[in-house]
Symmetry: C2
Subunit: 151 residues, 2 copies
């Protein structure tokens, strides 16, 4: 396993070929019971009555959390781990349903200095989460703090 | 319980006095093992070695998920539930540590029409998550889809 320093990143780099993660209805309901207890994430009947969803749908925060797992276990391995400073955008263009198999693709979109931490830089990445039909179910733009080589 | 329609929202409305949620080290490690398996979210020793964290720290996605739970169980109750379209920003200004007790405050910051769903409007909210010392640990700006009154 190769760990990456700030100097190893360049705008346009892509990290493809992540692991895959399958969600079933039990996992969707269990996450929702803990963190997003809305009827349309917990019960098929309530979910079918929701005109915007029309069926059991994973919490967007569940999709975001699975995305983080897939990212941590991808080839994007900064020295010291993925240390998130924040998120610039999340969109959930399509529902995640029971049985969906998720994977991620990530692209480096910006590099900048850290004002408060001169030994680190900030890498902005765009991560798209796809289902098994290669439809995007989440767009995420986030900023991570990455160590520079000792110099 | 009163359910809110789009017409009931106004810019500047605040939802205070949420429930509180306490995290212990076991909960931090358990969420991280599932969704953010970085050593600094899993092991005290590794966390103390991280110069940016200096101790076991909850995953930002764990904080975001707890925030959603507190929001769903707050007085902000749109008819049909909180249906998130996406997030405009998340920042994690301070680490969340074992033993922290979190609560949220939410403010309505913008109202707009939904182009694709004329029976709904979009409410933009800013939710701040505080610890027991009243320090902010997360800022979140998100957009939710809310039904209009029939008619």
């Amino acid at each position: 396993m190769t760990f990456l320093y700030f100097e190893d990143f360049a705008v346009g780099q892509k990290y493809l070929g992540s692991e895959r993660f399958v969600l079933d209805a039990a996992a969707i309901k269990s996450f929702a019971a803990a963190y997003d207890p809305e009827p349309f994430h917990l019960e098929e009947a309530a979910a079918h009555r929701s005109p915007a969803l029309r069926g059991l749908t994973a919490s967007g925060w569940h999709t975001a959390s699975i995305t983080m797992r897939l990212l941590v276990r991808s080839a994007l391995r900064p020295m010291g781990g993925i240390l998130g400073l924040g998120v610039d955008e999340i969109r959930w263009p399509r529902p995640v349903r029971p049985g969906d198999e998720l994977r991620v693709e990530t692209e480096v979109v910006e590099l900048r200095a850290s004002q408060s931490r001169p030994a680190h830089g900030i890498v902005k990445i765009r991560t798209t989460t796809f289902n098994q039909a290669n439809e995007s179910v989440q767009f995420l733009v986030s900023n991570i703090l990455v160590e520079k080589r000792a110099g």
